[in-house]
Amino acid sequence: MFEHLINGFGVALQPFNLLIALVGCLIGTVIGVLPGLGPTATLAMLIPLIFSMPPATALILLTSVYYGSMYGGSTTSILVNIPGESASVITTIDGHKMAMQGRAGPALAIAAIGSFIAGTFAVVVLTFLGAPVAEYALHFGPAEFFALMVFGLATVASLTGTNVTKSVVTTCLGLMISTVGIDLVSGAPRYTFGNPFLQDGIDFVVVAIGMFAFTEVIITAREVREGTRAEVVKAAGIWVSWKEVVYSLPSIARGTFFGFLVGMLPGAGATLSTFIAYNLEKRICKNPELLGTGDIRGVANPESSNNAASGASLVPLLTLGLPGGGATAIMLGALMMLDITPGPLMFEKHAGMIWALIASMYVGNALLLILNWPLVNVFARIMTVPVKYLMPIVLVISTIGVWSLSYSEVDLILTAGAGMLGYYMRMHKYPVEPLILGLILGGRMEQAYRQALIISKGSNLVFLQHPISLVLLIGALLFLFLPTLLARSKQFYMARKTSVEAA
């Protein structure tokens, strides 16, 4: 194996391949930074290019774009409170607060460091434990998937505010939006009102850009006008301090671990992993009350978890030849075009190419860390651009992101609607994050639910009979009700204590 890996490095470190990896990382970073443009569409666009280069080089280009986009996603989350990818939604919570406190540099830097650690971890696991780990992921059937989604949504419901009802409302709304379009299981059109444009469903990017980007622009405009906009604190330093790195390390480790676990399951995805990792972080870490106030761990954790997840989603693809959805599905297509039959035999039949690809992932992670050194500097300076110039430009770029989805006017109008709703929700403390997650997970969740019931011949007990799904569902219940119960009992305890003391 080491021999293969060293050979792989031999290929990956050839000057031309190194250059391609660098270009790929740059392209990836750019599309990661830009809201609305994602790796899936870009990879599909790059596919024809792979004819014009050697197969190994082509694969290196695709993976480095994929990796780069995950590094770039956090940038706009931190700087302008607008996630660049759905997997960076969570990063906005602490990231943007840090930027407002003059700590944009450290936030960006820790995102890069966390991403590097997580990405490298994922590749190391892929190198040494790939096949057994992927085999394990296969145990996740429809019932387990449904339970995992429920678990993910339950953690979100208790994420943002104190008001569980509002979280339930927005989660439900997200799921309801996801039912618009042609039903993926039976092919029946739902909630399309006869409008063919709605048959494809409502893309989450449309809603996310409306609710994050447009809302943010409006709120900023309002604050600027009313003079209530908080001044950005002058940056103390651009790079992150050692103390902060050490402080974030446990969070990075946990984010990496949970991100990898969730990301490895075919189709679960990086977004879900960040939500789950951040919520578990809130329960596990010391001083959890600091999370959400501009704590550096609130950036380190989700950013490492989304990179671990995107690395992990390559594990079933490369070891078993099974796609994990989204971008990895495009990569599977690319493999087939390169005359590689995706399957367990890839490592034997195309050892050179696959090991070059794995080696290039190590290289890509290192390149991205180096690349981010100067980029953090550049990006952190964006905080000094007056918002009256910055926000209109953000608005235009976000609009392009929506337009590029399917070049449809309907999407633009829907974005405006989402923007208005998002503004109202922000003003009245309805959390946006659960809505986005509900929208992203809805389709797959329903599909898994119905598949599980077909397998169980209509018996709902199936979700309780499978041990993994049972554990996840119990976990979901605990997440939903435990905080309230704990608070209650604490109140009760305090009340009794005071009454006892009074007596």
Binding site: L37, T179, S186, V224, G419
Partner: protein, 183 residues
């Protein structure tokens, strides 16, 4: 003292929200009837089961918001007493924005109108023209008064963005009214 007035306002708003949510849920469930029933596996959930589930939970949350003001009053009183974190942000002006007279908030509505106009007109007017107009209007609405800064920013930013996205990232951006010029 934020006082009982603000609390009462917040409660009526919550109840209005509850009502709206309930109505949306009912509409959603109603529309589920219009989903055509194509072939289905007998005995397992079809295309409307999941929507029904969602609609009911959504509706129930609406009802909860509608009928739970008592708990809310108690909590809000406590929050008001504890000087809740959103008190200094003065929720009154922002919270009440939708009911305020339009004249007082003309600026807010103008911004929305400009954005809506941009989204509606961009495909037909073309990206460059619409974007330059949007940028100019938006920057001046945000308080920039020097006309040459406004015009310069609008033109330069539009050119840079168009070049970057249309040529660099191959996003198909409509040229609209500029189409004849290119040909």
């Amino acid at each position: 003292m934020v006082g009982m007035n603000a609390i009462k306002k917040k409660i009526t708003r919550t109840q209005v929200e509850g009502l709206v949510i309930l109505l949306v849920a009912i509409g959603y469930l109603w529309e589920a009837q219009n989903v055509p029933l194509l072939y289905q596996v007998p005995g397992v959930p079809g295309p409307t089961t999941f929507p029904w589930l969602l609609g009911i939970v959504f509706g129930l949350s609406g009802v909860w918001l509608l009928v739970s003001p008592h708990r809310l009053i108690a909590r809000l009183r406590k929050e008001a007493a504890d000087e809740d974190e959103d008190a200094p942000e003065a929720p009154a002006p922002s919270g009440a924005a939708f009911w305020d007279p339009i004249t007082r908030d003309w600026h807010f509505y103008t911004i929305w109108a400009v954005i809506l106009g941009y989204l509606v007109l961009m495909p037909s007017l073309g990206f460059p023209v619409a974007t330059a107009l949007l940028l100019a209007m938006f920057v001046s609405l945000l308080g920039e008064q020097r006309w040459w800064v406004v015009a310069g920013l609008a033109l330069v930013a539009t050119t840079v963005i168009y070049t970057g996205f249309a040529l660099g990232l191959r996003v198909r951006l409509p040229l609209g009214v500029l189409e004849p010029l290119v040909k």
